[in-house]
């Protein structure tokens, strides 16, 4: 089992009247709402937390890319990962990822990720998401119906550029390059592991399975709802005659650990509330531009990862009790969290668990508490799950030496 620490880097200081005044934390929330001085302190704290995750023994640290939003302050995850390449030493750098359809030519992504891999001594996991509708089709103006085609071409170009030792010609539909010759090239051979974050599009499953990558389901609706998507994924895997190695799947789960169940509510409820009610506020049409997903996916009624207003048919939970009961957040005493996480891991058959331990407005001290309780009292109980399976989707440099099991915070 690989357990990683995921950070979204949310903006913590949205005004109290945000919900009354703005329809969305994404796309059209004026950046006058961003205070750069406060932002600077948030970045400082968030980098401390990511570095602390490395010293506490998390297998990996995860960063990701979002645009024109208060939900995640990493339009360029590579900038953050490049700091972590120097300030961490053991954890995999899981960049989940670069929205490769947005860059022309996407060679820029191949170059930066190769730099990260070399800088970190071969610890990079390369994530290639299609990207949310908000990020790609609104904030970056991509034509929705062409997005996946563009993504596939960018992927093909990047992967070929990493594995070819001579300059080559690339005559694509969106990218024409007479000389593809990526310097530096990645340290990991033949290339860093590739993980594909998906939000429940049917077309992504086949795409990932055909290429033998990891499928990551990143959603905030927890393992009980995630099961619906991952059951579908595993069913499709079986249909294609592919093995069911749990390391084929990555899953993101919000986790809040405290001394007791009731203390957990006291510690974390306001921060989780900020996350669900403010960070995830997305104006419906932004979440689902026409053509972003195929009509087949829409007909199947799968939810987007973020921004459910567009097609939500069930009522949304509104408070701590609902979030916890429905598994959106796994929260409570170490025993409670252990039990529910074990249940989730088995139910979803997930080998790469990514835990969101900083949520919404959590201050650094509380995040550290959550991280320490998690690594000392939860992680040891789940660490050995799936030990009988190989993990070929992990940085090869890190697989060669056994990873330290979590220990109490001592950094």
């Amino acid at each position: 089992m690989k357990v990683s620490f995921f950070h979204l880097m949310p903006y913590q200081s949205l005004p109290d009247d945000f919900l009354d005044k703005h329809r969305s934390a994404w796309v059209d929330l004026p950046n006058s709402n961003f205070d750069p001085q406060q932002g600077r302190h948030m970045y400082d704290d968030y980098l401390d937390e990511l570095q602390y995750a490395d010293s506490l023994g998390f297998d990996g640290v995860c960063v990701n890319e979002h645009h024109a939003n208060a939900y995640g302050l990493m339009p360029s995850p590579n900038l953050i990962a490049s700091i972590l390449a120097r300030s961490t030493s053991k954890a995999a750098l899981i960049v989940l990822g670069n929205s490769i359809a947005l860059y022309q030519p996407p060679i820029r992504v191949a170059e930066e990720m190769a730099m990260l891999d070399v800088l970190s001594g071969g610890r990079l996991v390369a994530g290639f998401p299609v990207g949310t509708s908000m990020d790609t089709t609104f904030a970056y103006g991509q034509v929705p119906i062409q997005l996946r085609e563009r993504h596939t071409e960018a992927h093909d170009l990047i992967m070929k550029s990493w594995q070819t030792r001579e300059p080559f010609v690339f005559n694509g539909k969106f990218n024409q390059l007479r000389y593809v010759n990526v310097w530096p090239r990645p340290l990991q051979q033949p290339h860093p592991p590739v993980w594909i974050p998906g939000s429940g599009s049917l077309e992504t499953w086949d795409w990932v399975l055909q290429r033998n990558y990891v499928y990551c389901y990143l959603s905030y609706y927890g393992y009980l709802r995630g099961r619906r998507v991952l059951d579908g994924f595993w069913e499709r895997t079986a249909q294609l005659g592919i093995d069911d190695n749990p390391y084929r799947v990555g899953f993101l789960q919000l986790v809040c650990v405290s001394e007791t169940d009731s203390q957990a509510e006291q510690d974390y409820a306001p921060h989780v509330d900020y996350f669900y009610n403010k960070m995830l506020r997305v104006y419906g049409p932004f979440a689902e531009s026409p053509g972003y997903r195929s009509i087949e996916s829409l007909r199947a009624g799968l939810r987007t990862a973020i921004g459910t207003n567009a097609q939500s048919s069930t009522s949304q939970p509104v408070g701590w009790k609902d979030w916890v009961e429905q598994g959106h957040v796994i929260a409570g005493s170490p025993e409670t969290v252990r039990d529910r996480l074990k249940e989730a891991i088995g139910m979803l058959r997930v080998g790469h668990l990514m835990c969101l331990l900083h949520i919404g407005t959590m201050p650094k001290e509380l995040t550290y508490k959550n991280m320490e309780l998690f690594t000392s009292q939860v992680l040891p109980a789940i660490k050995d799950t799936w030990a009988e399976y190989p993990d070929p989707w992990w940085p090869s440099t890190l697989s060669e030496t056994p990873q330290p099991v979590g220990h109490s915070g001592d950094s």
Partner: protein, 255 residues
């Protein structure tokens, strides 16, 4: 067409001189009363835009140039005579492109609430994000009118309603391929090639494509004429059918 890669559904009716009707960014949704009126006097061809209705093969059309040539090929296969074009909204942009691409084939051009140009000071509405109420307000002079309510009515059966929504999304996704995120794809550089008589018909209360765009088309197409209808939104043929048809038929008969 093109060895089976493209298949375009064309609704056809009436007799007389050929008239090509190009629908808006949503699906045509079958033969309609508007087409009936036109078919009283003309031989009407109403193609469904690729990716909408029964027209398939959108994935083989990479850009606007591909699309315009595709239309030229379809229309050539339908009639050898020069044709009138009536283009609504998105269809107006396609019609203008066709008239600029091959002026000799276009006998006259009618643009109704057409897109294709862009004025920073009067942006065209972002149809992809308008909520139902905003959309109704922008589309109609009077959203409470009988015509408006009939147009906006949704099927009662939930499954039929969902299918209608999906078909609408599919049409917007398909036409969006050529106009996302801003419907300005260089028409301004080609529009001077138009030689056909051209009439703009606009609703004065058009909140989707403000009437200032009628002026802009008129400025860019030498000899063109513009009619702005009072108390009328984006769909003059539904909201002010009498003025609309009178203006259109007068113009067509003189062209």
């Amino acid at each position: 067409m093109r060895g089976g890669k493209l298949s375009i559904e064309v609704l056809e009716g009436g007799s007389g001189d050929p008239l090509v009707y190009l629908h808006g960014a949503r699906s045509l949704g079958g033969w309609n009363p508007h087409l009936d009126r036109l078919a009283d006097r003309y031989h009407v061809f109403a193609p469904c835009h690729p990716g909408t209705g029964g027209s398939t093969g959108l994935e083989h059309l990479d850009d606007l140039w591909d699309l315009v040539l595709c239309y030229e090929e379809i229309l050539d296969s339908l009639t050898s005579r020069p044709y009138h074009i009536i283009g609504l909204s998105y269809g107006g942009m396609i019609g203008t492109e066709l008239a600029a691409q091959n002026p000799a084939k276009v006998r006259s051009l009618v643009l109704v609430g057409a897109i294709g140009l862009w004025l920073d000071e009067s942006p065209i509405a972002d149809i992809y994000v308008l909520g139902p109420e905003e959309r109704a307000k922008a589309t109609w002079h009077n959203p409470a009118s009988e015509a408006a309510r009939a147009y906006m009515a949704q099927p009662e059966d939930p499954e039929a309603k969902r299918e209608a929504e999906l078909s609408n999304i599919e049409a917007l996704a398909s036409t969006g391929k050529f106009i996302w995120p801003i419907p300005d794809k260089g028409l301004r550089k080609r529009i001077h090639r138009i030689t056909s008589p051209t009439l703009m018909v606009w609703g004065k209360s058009d909140g989707l494509v403000p009437p200032v765009y009628a002026d802009e088309f008129q400025r860019l197409i030498p000899g063109s004429r513009s009619v702005v209808i009072e108390e009328c939104g984006h769909l003059p043929y539904l909201e002010r059918p009498e003025e609309y048809f009178q203006n259109v038929f007068d113009f067509l008969s003189q062209s």
